[in-house]
Symmetry: C2
Subunit: 345 residues, 2 copies
Amino acid sequence: MNKIKEITIKEIAKRAGVSKATVSAVLNERSTVKQSTREHVLQLMRTLNYRPKGFARNMKYGDAGKCIGIIVKELNYPFFTTIAEGAKEYARSKGYSLVIASSDYNHESEKKFTNLFSAKDIRGAIIAPIAEGNSEIEHLFKLKMLNYPFVLLASVKGITANVVEIDNKGAVKKAVEYLIKNGHKKIVHFAGPPESAHTKERVDGFRNAFSESTLAFNDKMIISIGSNTKVSYEKTIKYFRSRKRKDYPTAIVCFNDLQALAVMTALRDLKIKIPKDISIIGNDDIHYAEIYSVPLTTIRSPQREIGQRAAEILINNIESSTLVPIEHIVIDTELVVRKSTRKLD
Amino acid sequence: MNKIKEITIKEIAKRAGVSKATVSAVLNERSTVKQSTREHVLQLMRTLNYRPKGFARNMKYGDAGKCIGIIVKELNYPFFTTIAEGAKEYARSKGYSLVIASSDYNHESEKKFTNLFSAKDIRGAIIAPIAEGNSEIEHLFKLKMLNYPFVLLASVKGITANVVEIDNKGAVKKAVEYLIKNGHKKIVHFAGPPESAHTKERVDGFRNAFSESTLAFNDKMIISIGSNTKVSYEKTIKYFRSRKRKDYPTAIVCFNDLQALAVMTALRDLKIKIPKDISIIGNDDIHYAEIYSVPLTTIRSPQREIGQRAAEILINNIESSTLVPIEHIVIDTELVVRKSTRKLD
DNA sequence: GTGAAAGCGCTAACAC
DNA sequence: GTGTTAGCGCTTTCAC
C-alpha cells in the first residue's frame, strides 16, 4: 500500500535549491529572507500545494493554545448549545477556547471524537454520553488510561468519572406533584425517544410521583411520543383523534420542551385550548419555551450552570499536576410556572 | 521564565527503570509487555499524572482522522447550527468529522480559531466571517499563505476566496415586494445589530425595494431593534408605546426570525393582533418560526444547503493535490407565506 | 519481553 | 541571507 507522497518542507527546500531553514523562515514570515527567494519559495509552495503540518510546527513551543472540547448529543437543540455556552464562558475566563462536536446519539461518533480530541491535544473533554447497550464504554476507559481529563454529563454505569448531571427523576416528579396539587387527576406523560437514557429516568420520575399521592399510576399513562418535532406532532394528533373528548387527560407532562412545543402546535390545530382544556408542562426550559405565544410552564435545568460547572471541574483537572478527587455533582431543577398550566376546580 | 517540566515518556521510562519503547508499548496496549511491568508503568503514569502528547503519537502514521471545522458567529441560534448540520452531513458522507467553534461576533476569537484549526491539523475550515472595520483580514491572508483550505459564508472585501452566501438584499426585497403587492403602504424595517454585516445588507435590500415601487422610502422606516431577544422585546414595546395607533405600521419586515419572535411576543403583550392589526415577516426560517402559534411568514435561507455546499467546496479543495479554481456561490432565498401576514383591502 | 536507534516534519540556535 | 545541526515526544523496526 503505497501512500501518495506528502509534500514536506524538505521537498520544497530541495526543489527551490535552498535549505529547510530558509523555507521555514518564509513560512514564519521572518524578515531576514531576501525578497526574491521568499517569492520563489512561496511560488513553489503554491504550485506544489504544500500544506505545512501544524503538529510539527508546534512541537517545540509546546502547544497551539489552550482548548477544551465538548461532545453533545445533538447540535440543533438549544438545551445543548446553552450548556456549551456555559462551558465556553467559564473556559474563556480561564483562557481556554471551546470546540463543539455532536455525536448525534451515535456511539461510534462519540468514540471517534474522544479519539480525535486526545489525538489533537485538545486538553480535555465534556461528554454527554451515549450509553446504548452497556458495554460500550471502552473508549472512556482508554481516556482514563491516557490520563485524559474528562467530565460526563450523565452517569455511566461501570465507570467512575467526574459527572455533572441533573436530577431527571426529581424534575418530572416536581411537575406531577404540582399538577396534583392543582387538582389534576387525569395526568399523562408523553415520553421521549426510547434510545435516550433520559426517557427512562423521566418515566421513572413520573411513576414515582404517584407512589406518594392518592392517585394510582398505570402504564396507560405513558405514551411514547418522541422528541422529533414532526413525529411528535403527528403522534399527538393521532392520540387525541383516537379517543373521546371526555377521555382526554387534563394535563400532559412532556419529555422536553421541544416535544412540548410540537404538542402545543398539534393542540392548536386540534382546537384544544391551553391551558383551558389541557395543561402542559415541559422540561429543560429552552429559550423558545418562554417566548411561545402561550408561555410554557416547564422544569428548568440550569443549562448554563451545568456547562460552567463541568468546565470548571475539567479545567481543574487539566491544570492540576497531581490527581484531583473525582466529583459527582447533581444539579437541582426548578419548576417555572408560566401560562400553559392552570388550577382545576 | 522557567516552565514547569512536562512529564514525557522518557521521564516515565527512567523512573520505571525501563526503556521508552516499553512505555510506548504499554500506552498502545501491546500484549507483548509482561503483566508486572505493565502495571508498574501504568501506576507510575498515574502518579506522575503523565499525559501522552497526541501530536507526537500521530506524527508517523500521518493523521488522527479526517476532520474539518466550522466557525460560526453564534452557537445558540438555530440558523447557524442548521448550517453546521448541513456541513456535517456532507462531511460525513466523505468520511470527515466536523467540529464547531463560535466566534461570538468577535474578531479576535475568529482569528484564534483559525490559528487553532491550522495548528491542530483540522484539514480545513468553513468560516462565517466577522468583518468589523475592514483591515482585519490578515488571519485570512495567513491561511492563504499556508495553503490552508477554507470557505467563507459571506464575501469579505479585499480577499479572494471561496464563498457560499445568500442574497441578503434580494431576500428582504422579496419580503417588501410581497407586502406591497398585498396592499401594504405603511411598512417598516426592524433592523438588526449594527455590528453585523447582514444588518446593513438587509437595510439596503429594504431601501432598494422602494425604488421599484410607487411608494417612497424614508429613513424613519428603519428602526434599530437588534436581535437579542430581551432587547428586541423592550425596544418593540417602546416603539409602539411612543406612537398613536393610527401611526402604527401595517407591516414589519424583521431582521431575522429570532427578532421576529421577540417582536411577536411584544405585540402579544401589547394586545396587537397578528396579522389582523399588523403583518410580520421574518428572515432565515428557523425551525421555531414554523411551530410558533402564529406561524411566521419568512424568507427562507436554505441553511442545510449552505452548509452542504460549503463543505463540498472545502473538501474538494482539501483532497485535490492541485490548485482548485475559486468558487463564489450565491444561494437564492424563498418567501414562505404562513400566517403572520395578510392582504390589506 | 525489552532496549537501542532511527526517523516523523518542523523550528531555532549558531555558523558562515 | 542562508545553511548546518540538534532536538521536540513519540513509534517502530530489529537486535538481544
